[in-house]
Every structure is written in structure tokens, then in C-alpha cells.
Amino acid sequence: MNKNMKLFAGILVFGSLWGFSECIIGSVLKDTGLPYGSIITGVFVLTFLVLSRIMYRQPGMQLGMGVVAGTLRIFNPFGGCHLCSALAIMAEGAIFEIIWYSFSFDFDNMKNITNQVSMGVITAYLVYVGGYIVTQILTPIVSGVGFYVENLIVFLPRILASGLLPGLIGAFVLPGVLQISRLDLKIKDTLYYPATFGVSAFCWIAVLSLWFMWGA
């Protein structure tokens, strides 16, 4: 199989699953009053980012996933801040790339459970907090209002505190993802493209159809 095409399909399917979880599952969690942002980042985003990194071992892929997920998030049929969320998601992909830069091909550092838990905490915390900070800077700029640094500084302690829950969730999720990845599940080459494009199409059609019905 063409390696680039396979990677593109991987970016599309994992990015679409990420965007779907942000739009649909996130909105359901929000309605139940749960801390949806922390749960989505700590469970879903971390799973998709780490699993795709281990499966494809291709730096840059998670940045592409963030772009796909962020684009899908713009069409969230259940409202919310479309622009800020899309920017935060794209930033999360970029921040993951920076954190995991040195783990691109070598996962030996995460053989023991202490390091797996620690990387779960670090990754989930920094991805969540980093995305939050980036959107606080970029949203006013993209909106044309202008960025006021003092607005960010006074709110920084709350942003840093908000990363605690996703960090703690990540401590449990990352070791679990690593266990799943060790199962060495393989999909037949003949089924790879139908499966990846099928799942991606489902995510986009589900979100866009709800958006046309309720959001547009």
C-alpha cells in the first residue's frame, strides 16, 4: 500500500473520530453537567493521539489530526464557541507533537508503569492547558477585537488549575492505551481503506446532518 495514502487515511479517520467525540459525545456530557472538556481531552483525545502515534510512528500526523478535528468542530450542531474550540483542538495536536517529539520511534522510556502514568499526566495536562492558553490568545486576534495580555495573565491560575482533572484522567488512560496497542491488532490491506473512509464518512455525515437540522 502507498505509505502516504495510508497515512492520509489514518489522519482522516483519527481526526474525524476526535472531531466526532468533541461535537457529539462532548455535547452529551455537557448536558449531563459533567466536566466534558476534561473528560474529552483526558479520555478520547489522549487515546486517539497516543494510539495513532504508536500505530503509525509518524511525527506530524497528530497535527494533521488536529486540523481535521478542528474543522469538524466548526460544524458542531450543539452550539458552543465554534471558533475557540476549533483553535484549541488544532493547538492540542501541535502541542502533542512537541511533547512527543522525542518519542517518535522509541517507546522504551515507557516500559514501566510509573513512566506510563507520568506521561499520561504530562500529556493530558499540557495538551489541555496549552490548547486553553492558545485559544485565549488567538480567539480575540482572529475575531478582530485584539489580544490583551493582562486578560490572559489574570486568568492563568484558573487555566493551570483546570488541567488537573484531565491530567489525573490521563494517568489511567495512557497505560490502558499502551496495553491495547500491544494486542497488535492488524487490519487486512483490502479492508484498510474501506474501513478508514467508512468510519470517517460516518463521523462527518453524523455531525453535518445534525448541523443542517439544528445548527445551520
Partner: protein, 133 residues
């Protein structure tokens, strides 16, 4: 020290930053039933009796409340050299907008501001202060 040994240290540092930030945020949170505008405290009822009402259309439907530009005028907070109006929430969140935004913004009875065509991050809730600068 190898990278392998630094990972848990970074994780503990990250958790400590989160914990201390949470404690700090809890300590400084303001629980005010009034809104300070131009160094004067107003209750939400006083504000609603003071300024004109306005209804705007947002992507979450109609929002009705006190017209923000009229509120600034009626509270005597207008200054010709000012064009930055900062809305501060009780949890420390704050956003700054220009006069153009005030002309299409409202403060609702639920103490939340809305603008007709802005990102939702500008919809500050639980306002405790409006600063003119």
C-alpha cells in the same frame, strides 16, 4: 539524570502546579452580588432600572438585557479618550472589547453579557466589574 528518570519528576511538577493553582483560584474568588462600574457598586436591579433594554440575535437565539453602551453612558463612565471596556467575572475571567461591541451587546438578568456577532468566549458570565480604560 536520564530522560526516563525525569518523566515522573515532570509529572509531579505538573500536578503540583495544578494543585497550587486550584488552591489560589479558590482563595481569590470574589463572591459579589453587585457590579462595580466606574468605582460605583450597582445591583443588577439598579442596572436594569437605569439603562435602556435591547434585544439582540445571537447564534444561540434572542438575548434581551440592558444595552451595554447605554449602561456606560447612564453610569457616567464615558470618556472621550477611552476605547477599551473590560468585563470581569467573579472567577477572574475577563474580556476587553471596544465601543463598537458595546453597541451590539447586552447584560442579561442572569448577569451575563452577550454580543450579537462575536465568539462565545466574549460572553462573560457572573460579572463583578466593568472597567473603562
Amino acid at each position: 539524570m536520564g530522560k526516563e528518570k525525569l518523566i515522573p519528576v515532570f509529572a509531579i511538577a505538573v500536578l503540583l502546579i495544578g494543585c497550587f493553582s486550584a488552591l489560589y483560584v479558590n482563595a481569590i474568588e470574589v463572591d459579589s452580588k453587585t457590579i462595580e462600574i466606574n468605582n460605583t457598586e450597582y445591583t443588577i436591579n439598579q442596572i436594569f432600572s437605569l439603562a435602556n433594554m435591547r434585544t439582540i440575535i445571537t447564534d444561540e437565539g434572542e438575548k434581551t438585557g440592558v444595552a451595554l453602551d447605554d449602561l456606560i453612558i447612564k453610569t457616567g463612565s464615558v470618556c472621550s479618550s477611552c476605547n477599551a471596556y473590560t468585563f470581569k467575572s467573579k472567577d477572574g475571567y475577563q474580556q476587553t472589547v471596544t465601543w463598537d461591541y458595546l453597541e451590539k451587546g447586552v447584560l442579561t438578568q442572569e448577569n451575563r453579557i452577550y454580543f450579537s456577532d462575536s465568539a462565545h468566549s466574549f460572553w462573560v458570565k457572573d460579572i463583578v466589574e466593568i472597567e473603562v480604560g
